[in-house]
Symmetry: C5
Subunit: 310 residues, 5 copies
Amino acid sequence: MLTKHDVSIPLDVPSSMHDEYVANFLSLTRSTGKLVLFAGDQKIEHLNSDFYGQGIADEDSDPEHLFKIAYHGTVGCFAAQMGLIARYGRQYPGIGYLVKLNSKTNLVETKQRDPVSRQIWTVDDVVRFKKESGLRVLAVGYTLYLGSEYEADMLTEAGRLISEAHKHGLLTVLWIYPRGKSVLFEKDPHIIAGACGTALCLGSDFVKVNYPSKYGFDSREMFKEAIKAAGNTGVVCAGGSKKGVRDFLQDVHDQIYYAGGKGNATGRNVHQRPLDEAIRLCDAISAITYGGWDVDGAMRVYEGHEQFKL
Amino acid sequence: MLTKHDVSIPLDVPSSMHDEYVANFLSLTRSTGKLVLFAGDQKIEHLNSDFYGQGIADEDSDPEHLFKIAYHGTVGCFAAQMGLIARYGRQYPGIGYLVKLNSKTNLVETKQRDPVSRQIWTVDDVVRFKKESGLRVLAVGYTLYLGSEYEADMLTEAGRLISEAHKHGLLTVLWIYPRGKSVLFEKDPHIIAGACGTALCLGSDFVKVNYPSKYGFDSREMFKEAIKAAGNTGVVCAGGSKKGVRDFLQDVHDQIYYAGGKGNATGRNVHQRPLDEAIRLCDAISAITYGGWDVDGAMRVYEGHEQFKL
Amino acid sequence: MLTKHDVSIPLDVPSSMHDEYVANFLSLTRSTGKLVLFAGDQKIEHLNSDFYGQGIADEDSDPEHLFKIAYHGTVGCFAAQMGLIARYGRQYPGIGYLVKLNSKTNLVETKQRDPVSRQIWTVDDVVRFKKESGLRVLAVGYTLYLGSEYEADMLTEAGRLISEAHKHGLLTVLWIYPRGKSVLFEKDPHIIAGACGTALCLGSDFVKVNYPSKYGFDSREMFKEAIKAAGNTGVVCAGGSKKGVRDFLQDVHDQIYYAGGKGNATGRNVHQRPLDEAIRLCDAISAITYGGWDVDGAMRVYEGHEQFKL
Amino acid sequence: MLTKHDVSIPLDVPSSMHDEYVANFLSLTRSTGKLVLFAGDQKIEHLNSDFYGQGIADEDSDPEHLFKIAYHGTVGCFAAQMGLIARYGRQYPGIGYLVKLNSKTNLVETKQRDPVSRQIWTVDDVVRFKKESGLRVLAVGYTLYLGSEYEADMLTEAGRLISEAHKHGLLTVLWIYPRGKSVLFEKDPHIIAGACGTALCLGSDFVKVNYPSKYGFDSREMFKEAIKAAGNTGVVCAGGSKKGVRDFLQDVHDQIYYAGGKGNATGRNVHQRPLDEAIRLCDAISAITYGGWDVDGAMRVYEGHEQFKL
Amino acid sequence: MLTKHDVSIPLDVPSSMHDEYVANFLSLTRSTGKLVLFAGDQKIEHLNSDFYGQGIADEDSDPEHLFKIAYHGTVGCFAAQMGLIARYGRQYPGIGYLVKLNSKTNLVETKQRDPVSRQIWTVDDVVRFKKESGLRVLAVGYTLYLGSEYEADMLTEAGRLISEAHKHGLLTVLWIYPRGKSVLFEKDPHIIAGACGTALCLGSDFVKVNYPSKYGFDSREMFKEAIKAAGNTGVVCAGGSKKGVRDFLQDVHDQIYYAGGKGNATGRNVHQRPLDEAIRLCDAISAITYGGWDVDGAMRVYEGHEQFKL
């Protein structure tokens, strides 16, 4: 368990905000330095496709499902747009929130036009919101498409908001996806590593990237390049395509304990399940990430044979 | 009848504005939680095509016609651009107004260029206008074209103005239309549901969408996906194409009592009629929406055989 | 003759500015509610083509010619860019000015790129200028190209500056021209009517449009649609192509007394004449517009047989 | 010799700045109302092509050469970017400076993309710089490409900065070049005249244009249209292509005393010569412009047989 | 050794900041007027390609490697993005930092779209950061692509930030690369000279350019044009392609002592080596630059046979 003396504070956090930053860091990482991010920003990013349809639990069509999971499951934070949090947060004050500051839909495809996602809310908005609402807002997040023709706009917004967030003691997570006509393989390990280095140079505390993938190579090994490139920015891995739970948990374990990642960010793989199962999957992920359990132990949590609580 | 204790207040409304928000909500929804929105923003959106020509009452060519309807008919609010309200509002102080903050004409078609509509007035302008004019401004509105190449600009403006409006206790309605070269079917139920989820994530109190339509499917059933996706954001349905009044009122009824919508937004279907008939149609819609009447009862109101007053 | 009690004040004029607005309205309309606008913004709009060449009086090549006409002739206001007014206004303090806030040249044609004209001076600049200079600045003006791909930029600037102008008691005139690749017939009566409705929804006091024209139809009749669509925004008509003076004055008369327009806006048709003739033509236009004279009477003024003075 | 009572002050100069404006005007024009502008902004505009190569004096490759000429030669002002002035100005406090506020390189040609040059420093920057440095900054300048697809951006910047400059008593010079795909002949007399009228409407004190040129016509006569169109904005002529000194001085003389121009703006034609010759050429130009000498007299100055000093 | 009386202070540095500017200048140049810039901004500029792969030391994959080199090696400053500095600076307070204010990735190639890099952090951000962190921030840097279609945006940002930096006593380095569809040879000596003149006109203290290269010509001679064009702006040369150390050091020596440059800016040529070797290479470069040693002496430093310490 980390104590407040173990937390490394970036220099763009003013001294008056050191305590705030440390408290937020310890909350977000459950005093482990690692992060289980439960991602709930897909209602804009993927419209309703992640919430309704074959293979998706009926409960998932109710937006409150996300809050129930985040409330009952063990997670570091629940990431969502400020509007969504504003509309349900009153009933779920206990959750640790990350306010996602930008989002785009998936209607315009890259072949039509390179992706761009612009900042909707400012850090000042978030700070005011946090103060007025009394919610436990721990961090802000932003998605950035490296290699897009609009990359410059997003690099600027990302860099500035990190600096602003730190000024107020908030933590930051960048979602970085290499995407655009210039990017042939979005999961190329070398480009993913570049994304991690970019997050570091922008000063982010965490970066969420896709798990690298290259034909004929071991993703676990490939991932090490990214982890190193990120330096002291923590790398968390997107859930990846839906597969069996054991395989998924194995990935979660490998990403941290084999490659050196700092956690994971999972969305649909969790919320498309019925509430009880979704909670157990969160707990299983947290057992690995926060508890250091092995995959067998995590499976027992997922299957309800054992409980993991921090 | 809702009382002030029944109103759920979003967390981005500061506590000093709780009373204001609640009062506006109860006014707008006539203490029912539902909304009859009378839309009068077409003079820019469709230029003069909705106000002059075959099948349109002569009276509709006079802009004051809109105010007369809104004044004498039973509606939750009359939505129009701030300029229009500024020029006639003095004679119609009793109306509940929604200030539409953006508008575009229909001259440039999507095949030439994806649609974009930019914010003209700020929420601060509206707040000052409300204070200076003494008008009952209850809400602001904004149109957003999901799937347009300019989507990012509009998402940003929409999210920010909702946050600003709530800061001042004003309610918000987003008009969301999926439109652009990337959108094949604008009324696709799944995309309409995505639009509703987007409105929720932006924090809007209400969203106005088109009634979903898919060949071989029942719109009433299809609409449920959208209602669910919207969560606690109220969904109101655009009037749709002009058909017989009974069919129209049936749709209005189904949207609320079959699918779970929160009301409707009607423009030309009302104002293209002579004043007296337009007023009776408003009352008929309100009889269903606010009074919970059935279609037969509403028809009697429309035909002048019975009166509905709140 | 209107008195201050007859002036209808838009609600976006704050009460502290009511007297100012009323005084400006009465000055601009010479207490008649109608407007003779002498347009002198063509030095940017048409470069030097309106001021030099065959059929243009030599005196017109001197920019001061415009000020002499405005000073000696009877007009409601002289419209020009702030820079031009700043350089000659000291010698002509008696003129009622309208500051034209934007302008573009005619070098780039629509077939190359849709037209865009951006705001150069802010209303705050004008208010400061008015105060510092002591000039009688009564109004501001702005040109807007509906149907251009840049329409959104101009709608936003127009709506905002009207709101700003009213905040300071200044009146507003929008020049609205449907123009762009999307517009087939710029003088189509239906689109002109749409332009008038747009001006109303933006809150403008006056709108200047081209006289509608459609093959086989009577422009006087066609113009009525526009007048109605404008509601209580006054419609003034651009001079149209240069023809015989009697025909021109007949148009001026018809536009007001047949169709219900509120006046006219004339530029080159006036200033391309020698000073004395230009003054007499202004007076003739004013005799019709402000004095309610018939065309024969106005012709006598133009020919110097009779005088019209307010 | 003009005295302070002869200076016509534009109305956008506030009364508190009248003395400042008058003093700057008299300095800039050496109390003659005319202007010899020594242009030194080509290091960005033409990169190093004007300063190094065949036919260019070696001394010209040292940027200080420009300052030496401006210091020892007789000129109204030396025009350069603020950065350049900041780096050499301490040694040359006696020079009258014009801060050129924008610049572009010549790498992107019009056939690739229409020209655009954006404002780098604000008038406030210049005012602070003047105060801090103690330099004799008399005026600001800006280049504007009429007919470019980016014309609107530059018209806005130009109009605003003139208004700002006058607010602080600074004079203004616009460089206006018709350029872009829409412009067939950049030196067409009619378009040049339009450029001059545009400068007037933007409120500039001076405008620098190219000497009109049209096959089969006399430039001196053609130039008169421009002079008239400029009204009380002074027209200064760009140096034109390098020819014999006598021919050049003849042009300088004709532009003022035949056509009515207010001076000239010369850059490479001066600085590409060795220091001593460059100084003598400046003096020769000033002998004509400020002293009213004839070409023979000016040639004697250029050849060192006679001196011209104010 | 320069003393504070030898430092030439640009006029845009206010007198209250003279001491600060002088101190920063002496620190940055180690009281020699010359500059060894250690460039560490490639994690965004080149993603991970400079830090991982064949021929690159393993240590270089750890971002802290850069800080170790800058700390133990002799350099004038270490240039990196503010985010990177914020995350490691606490452990390396002794380093002299240059905050690189913009960066782009290399994913979008010029043939797809002309390069643009936008300012991420403002000078105010840097000043606050410096004050809060206590780090020795001496300068700011910015990359500018002359000849890009986005040149105007970057010229504006560059000019303004230099003026801002000087206002706070910070020094400036511009990285200027001619690049874009309009640029055929990026290392053309004449264009490189133009880049240097541009930096001067923008007011920068230093400019980093590529070493000119032209088939059949001697780069050392060619470089003189650039040095002259830069005037009193110091020219530092980018490392160029990796070649043998002796050849590299010969270039470093020639650039300063043959052509008159003010130093060098080296990145990967240093950091791709193991720590100890990288430090020795820094020291060797500094021996030449700061100490005036010859290449043989510098080679002895690089090979560890001799030490160079300031």
